[in-house]
């Protein structure tokens, strides 16, 4: 720390790290440990999930192929049980698709309104409200589906077709409402992040606001919007309470949204609540279904990442 100027022949200047670096190293180690812990936990869960599921497929009564292609799910019959998972997968997809049909249009319009049309004041008020909506407990929503949405559907669409008390439509619509805030809030972030210069460029050419929104802002925000939808999709696929309460518990291979169905998550709840003894087929099937759920979510994420890479407009 001396300030004298050394000549060319003097001793070299000391460039080694001082002691203040010690604290920095400590913090770094701490951060590393935390990151490692969360990664290890995730890895642990995945390992347990798949090793238990592997136990299921080693049983004589089931095969991986029969599991993935079978159309009958009767898991509670012991060795006589039928473990074809397609009805559960179909139930999950049916509810999820209905949820997306509700959430994507609603969420994107809300996002476009908030980002492009609303005054800064309105946005300041509405966005937090929207985000609070995301925090409504799902058990409340499930109850809402059962006691409000189902009667509403029966009073309207019910005139044309029979609607069972438990049905995929009611659960799907309410699940859609549940994920609207996720889609809207994250898409709004993505749209707001589109540089104002791009909008001005479009306005400067005589574009209308509507044109600017769907030809400039939406494409430029595409990767954020897709990410928002994927996150919402993940919540929908994994959602348990609403479907358990409102969609029923009948593994039913159908595309009719007004029938009772069972989703993968609802089955897991049902099986865990029943007294399936550890090591039994039913018990192990929980892990098989869980592992499949995990794989499906993973595949959707990968597909979305590819989609985004292909179609996004990079603007920076």
């Amino acid at each position: 720390m001396t300030s004298d100027v050394r000549g060319a022949g003097g001793p070299a200047v000391d460039l080694r790290a001082g002691s203040r670096r010690l604290g920095e190293k400590l913090v770094l180690t701490l951060l590393w440990v935390c990151a490692a812990a969360s990664i290890l936990t995730t890895v642990g869960i995945v390992v347990i999930l798949f090793s238990e599921a592997a136990g299921f497929f080693r049983e004589e009564a089931v095969s991986l192929r029969g599991f993935l292609t079978g159309t009958t799910w009767q898991p509670f019959g012991g060795a006589q049980g039928k473990f074809g998972v397609l009805p559960l997968v179909a139930g999950t997809l049916l509810v999820t698709v209905i949820a997306l049909l509700v959430a994507v249009p609603l969420g994107l319009t809300s996002a476009a309104y908030l980002s492009e049309y609303a005054s800064p004041r309105t946005r300041r008020i509405l966005k937090p409200v929207l985000e609070v909506l995301a925090g409504v407990p799902t058990v409340v929503l499930g109850y809402f589906a059962l006691t409000f949405m189902t009667p509403l559907l029966r009073a309207t669409v019910g005139q044309l077709t029979t609607i069972s008390v438990f049905n995929a439509a009611s659960a799907g619509i309410v699940m859609g409402i549940m994920i609207v805030p996720t889609v809207a809030s994250l898409s709004e972030d993505a749209m707001s992040a589109v540089p104002q210069a791009l909008r001005e460029g479009a306005y400067g050419l005589g574009a209308t606001k509507r044109h600017v929104v769907h030809s400039v802002v939406m494409p430029a925000a595409l990767s954020g919007i897709v990410a928002a939808i994927i996150l919402a999709l993940g919540r929908a696929i994994g959602e348990t309470m609403i479907v358990a309460l409102a969609a029923g518990n009948l593994p039913n291979l159908t595309y009719n949204p007004f029938e009772q169905i069972q989703t993968m998550t609802a089955y897991i709840v049902q099986a865990v609540q029943g007294e399936a003894p550890r090591g039994s087929l039913t018990y192990e099937s929980i892990f098989a279904v869980g592992a499949l759920l995990f794989v499906i979510t993973l595949l959707i994420n990968i597909a979305a990442a590819r989609f985004v890479r292909r179609f996004r407009e990079v603007y920076s």
Binding site: S119, P120, P195, A197, L198, R199, E200, G201, A202, Y203, G204, L205, G206, A207, T208, H211, S215, V216, P219, A220, E313, V314, Y315
Partner: protein, 311 residues
Amino acid sequence: MDQQHEQARVDGHARTPVATIADEHRRNGARLDSDLARQAAAGRTVRDDAAVVFDLDDVTVSYAGFPAIRNVSMQVRERMITALIGPSGCGKTTLLRTLNRMNDLIPSASVEGTVRYKGADLYARHVDPVEVRRRIGMVFQKANPFPKSIRDNILFGPKATGMTFDADDLVEKSLRGAALWDEVKDKLDSSALGLSGGQQQRLCIARAIAVEPDTILMDEPCSALDPIATGAIENLMRELREHYTIIIVTHNMQQAARASDMTAFVTTEVSHDEDGRDRRSGRLIEYDRTEVIFGDPRDTRTEDYVSGRFG
């Protein structure tokens, strides 16, 4: 001092002889003799009969109630290049954006006074800003091509405004018009963001002329470009002048002197409000033929600015 500001209104090119400090200075016989003055004088002569395109009368533009530029009165004539020069922050961009209602996009901005475009009041109640911007195109300080292909950039405006057009013809014509065709004709479908900065800016000009506007506003289009790209854009402006009215903001004295027919000098003035706080706002000081602004300005502030003595 105040008399001098009222002078800034230039009706045509007739100048009212009012004794000002600058006039005093001129009578002393000190005509500016500089490269800039010579370049400005070498330009073509201004047609005195050109029709008035923009007629600004006592225009004041404010942000959140504070005037950024005030009491501007001037007339911009058809098929000429009019340069706006002045120190940073004096309100050139603000004034330019007032001319095609771009300031509508800034919630806090407000405009007083009248802006007439070919006789029509731009800020009248029934005027559609979208229609205004279709006729009065804009090129921004920083090139802002859309993150789409070169072709889609050109076709964006025509599609947005519902023009009927032949896509291939229009793309070629616009790119040729912006002196970019030869460089990009083989990669029309690749991203516009893969172009160099100068090419991007010319693409933005091509995009602007694709909608066939009458007038083009350019906000420092060359500020990020090297001298070669700048030269290309200046040549382009001279060609565009045959068909379009161009208003260009520039910090580059050389550019204003070389390329423009008319020049307006705007500067920041500090006044004090009741509480004794500084209020800065831009004023139009002098507006005249470019050769006059650079060779024989009336106002000492103009003279100081164009001769680089601005402090």
